[in-house]
């Protein structure tokens, strides 16, 4: 991963550690536009076993506090996104008040075409 820039609109206390270059690029775009953002601030529990232990959870990549909106970025091939979509469906069912948007590979390609971004390898 490239070095994390000094973000201006990041609202967290610890420096974000991105999982892939696409997340970093989205963070840079949000930051450039001055949109306050947080990185993975919330983990939503989706399933527990009989003992109450968490067996499935979901941590959306970004949270925009001013918009009260979560963003999940994926640059996986569409065929591999199915699992993530299932999680997203569960989240929407269990947390209907939570606003979340999923960004697919083609969204990133669209941004890449517009902003000259490098696609995650």
């Amino acid at each position: 991963m490239p070095e994390t820039p000094d973000f201006q609109a990041y609202c967290g206390s610890e420096p974000p550690r991105f999982a892939n270059p696409a997340e970093l690029e989205y963070a840079k775009i949000l930051d450039w536009y001055g949109i306050p953002w947080l990185y993975e601030p919330t983990t939503f529990v989706l399933e527990r076993d009989e003992d109450g232990r968490v067996t499935e959870a979901f941590s959306p990549d970004f949270y925009l506090p001013d918009q009260d909106l979560y963003l999940e970025v994926t640059v996986m091939k569409q065929s591999l996104v199915t699992r993530k979509n299932r999680k997203l469906r569960k989240l929407r069912q269990q947390y209907p008040d939570v606003k979340i948007k999923l960004f697919y590979e083609r969204d990133f390609e669209r941004l890449a075409a517009r902003f000259g971004l490098r696609k995650a390898s």
């Binding site: 820039p5 201006q8 775009i29 949000l30 930051d31 450039w32 536009y33 001055g34 949109i35 925009l64 001013d66 918009q67 909106l69 963003l71 948007k101 083609r106 969204d107 669209r110 075409a113 517009r114 902003f115 000259g116």
Partner: protein, 153 residues
């Protein structure tokens, strides 16, 4: 375009709104819209830096010539997508105390919106998640001059 122009004329009857175009994609739209508004109004333009041009964040490359304190302002753009650019414009112009501030867009993709507190009042069409050129839309600064929209595949 005639419908948008008539709607604007109705809403701003007795006033003289300022149409503000965000360069450059807006040019064909704001020209056609202006011609479709059968009442006095003014035009002005702004231009913002493109992402990646600098590391300091979005900024004005060209500011308004007109003062907008007390004016009715209609921000015009070709398309509202994520809404990030328009969000910046609205924030920047709102602090100059316009009497009103609304948005007119030829196209929008509301399903891609990241900011939902935009004062969008006039929209021509909701368009699919496709990439277009022509009628002001460019690909590497080309094709803006095409008189109609072309789908890029």
């Amino acid at each position: 375009m005639r419908e948008l122009g008539a709607e604007l004329a109705r809403d701003y009857e007795g006033r003289e709104p300022l149409l503000v175009g965000s360069l450059k994609a807006c040019i064909p739209f704001i020209c056609d819209l202006s011609r479709a508004i059968p009442m006095h109004h003014n035009l002005d333009f702004i231009e913002l830096s493109d992402y990646g041009e600098n590391n300091d964040g979005i900024r004005f490359l060209k500011d308004l010539n007109a003062e907008i304190d007390g004016r009715d302002v209609v921000l015009c753009d070709a398309v509202i997508d994520t809404g990030l650019t328009m969000h910046y414009l609205v924030r920047s112009l709102a602090i100059r105390n316009p009497a009103s501030l609304h948005i007119a867009a030829l196209f929008e993709r509301p399903y891609r919106r990241l900011v939902d507190d935009l004062p969008v009042r006039y929209v021509g069409f909701t368009i699919p998640d496709e990439f277009f050129v022509g009628y002001g839309f460019e690909l590497q600064e080309r094709y803006r001059n095409l008189p109609d929209l072309r789908l890029v595949r």
